[in-house]
């Protein structure tokens, strides 16, 4: 991927990521998040990780965010938009975010690996779907199954909870 495309999509990811918190209207935030995901998936694409990139869009942008939007649409949004900006809270939040950023920056900077260039990508097509599948079902089969059971339990739990609410 040419560098200018990398910069474009990286800035897109970050910019719309910032848009999620800056935006006053929840719908705007949700859509910024979608665009941020799309930028992210494009960055994966530049690493030849087609599978992850497509799954990123399919799962997050295509399914999760649609549900989010669905819920947001059912809420009364006006209250959020009318609220005044609380300067003190705003400054506090910004300070915390800045502190976190500095920390992350320093930690990554301290790592040896971050100081040298990454090895170049292997060219040609990697069959990444097969690799992810093998890794998941051969090496990490037990954790995968456990996560599956966990998700199933969570699903049943949600159904039970929502049913009780109805009655």
């Amino acid at each position: 991927m040419p560098p200018f495309l990398f910069w474009f999509f990286a800035l897109m990811t970050l910019g719309f990521g910032a848009g999620v918190i800056i935006n006053r209207s929840p719908i705007g935030s949700a859509l910024s998040l979608v665009l941020s995901f799309i930028g992210l998936s494009t960055l994966f694409l530049s690493l030849n990780a087609y599978f992850i990139s497509v799954i990123q869009v399919l799962v997050y942008a295509g399914a999760v965010m649609v549900l989010f939007l669905f819920i947001i649409m059912l809420l009364d949004l006006r209250a959020e938009e009318r609220r005044k900006i609380n300067v003190v809270a705003f400054a506090g939040g910004a300070a915390v975010a800045l502190a976190l950023f500095v920390q992350v920056y320093r930690i990554i900077g301290a790592l040896g690996a971050a100081r040298q260039a990454f090895p170049p990508l292997r060219s040609g097509n990697t069959d990444d779907v097969r690799r992810v599948g093998l890794l998941l079902f051969a090496n990490y089969n037990l954790p995968f199954q456990i996560v599956g059971v966990l998700v199933l339990v969570a699903t049943i739990g949600v159904i039970v909870l929502s049913k009780r609410e109805l009655r």
Partner: protein, 367 residues
Amino acid sequence: MDYFLIGTSLAKIAGLLAVVLGIMNYSVYAERRISALIQDRLGPNRVGPAGLLQPIADAFKFLLKEDFTPGHVNKFYYWLAPCLAMIPAIATLAVVPFGSTLFGVPMVIADINVGVLYVFAIASLGVYGIVLAGWSSNSKYPFLGGIRSSSQMISYELSLGLAVIPIFLVAGQLRLTSIVRFQIEHGWMIAPFIGDWTNIGKWLLAVPMLVSFLVFTIAIFAETNRLPFDLPEAETELVGGYHTEYGSMKFGLFFLGEYIAMITGSAIIVTLFLGGWHLPLPSWHGGFHWAVVNGSAPGWRGIIGGIFNIACFFAKVAALLFIFIWVRWSLPRFRYDQLMRLGWVFFFEIALVNIFVVAVIVAYISK
């Protein structure tokens, strides 16, 4: 920079877009004519010979109408929504192989190794256009349409995704061109016994493949909001559904986006189940067998073969479009609870069981 790649890609994009937009216009015409014939009417037959210029007149009508924006809408999203409805439908076409080769160039715009997943990913973005249209219109019928649409699309995406897994089990590939190639060598997905007539396992395989084909096709109907699943725009209940507040070309984008989605859906069905651009022709080279016509032959025979393959692909798409239209004018609309029940209780389960059946057959019987 690889100028040859860029040049041919641009040419392919332009060509495909031209063909698909042409098909789109004429599928609107076909819809009107076929619906008329089914209802013992004649349909548009005045503009040009047999009404063939009607799409052009329609386009002018859309363009020349006043582009009115109601005062109570959320302007930015109101303008954004029609574009979001159109773009995903077109972008999906990028990975569909619509021909073999022409002048040695493979007839697919982007041959990525997760082709089918890409299709689903982009198609799942299509719901944003509808949801935003419904929400930004600030009016109750569009809103109901938007909500119906998002829940319907999410529900049917599941069956859609599950219904194609048998194909991957059989073909062992996600790349669409490889799936087409697999079908040429081992028989189309809905008829896996072709070329291997004595293998009982292959005949057994045909049954779950047919089920999978039906579930997939029906889910595509639901994804494209076509009758009998047109709940989001049910005219009789919701005025016009999510595009009630739209007029002029903005409405046109929704309207035509639906047809593009239909074409894309048909193209995916053709690629996954009906052998893509492949049409077996009988030939005789010391024994009767099916020949593969494609563009790899030298000279003019290759060119004719390539063009023949492209024509073949679009003919299959057109046949499916006819079925889309035919179904629309035959079946009544579902009730909303029936729609949800059908999606979650029937198709979901059928597709799930189908995966296991195919897995067992592929692993143990049709070796």
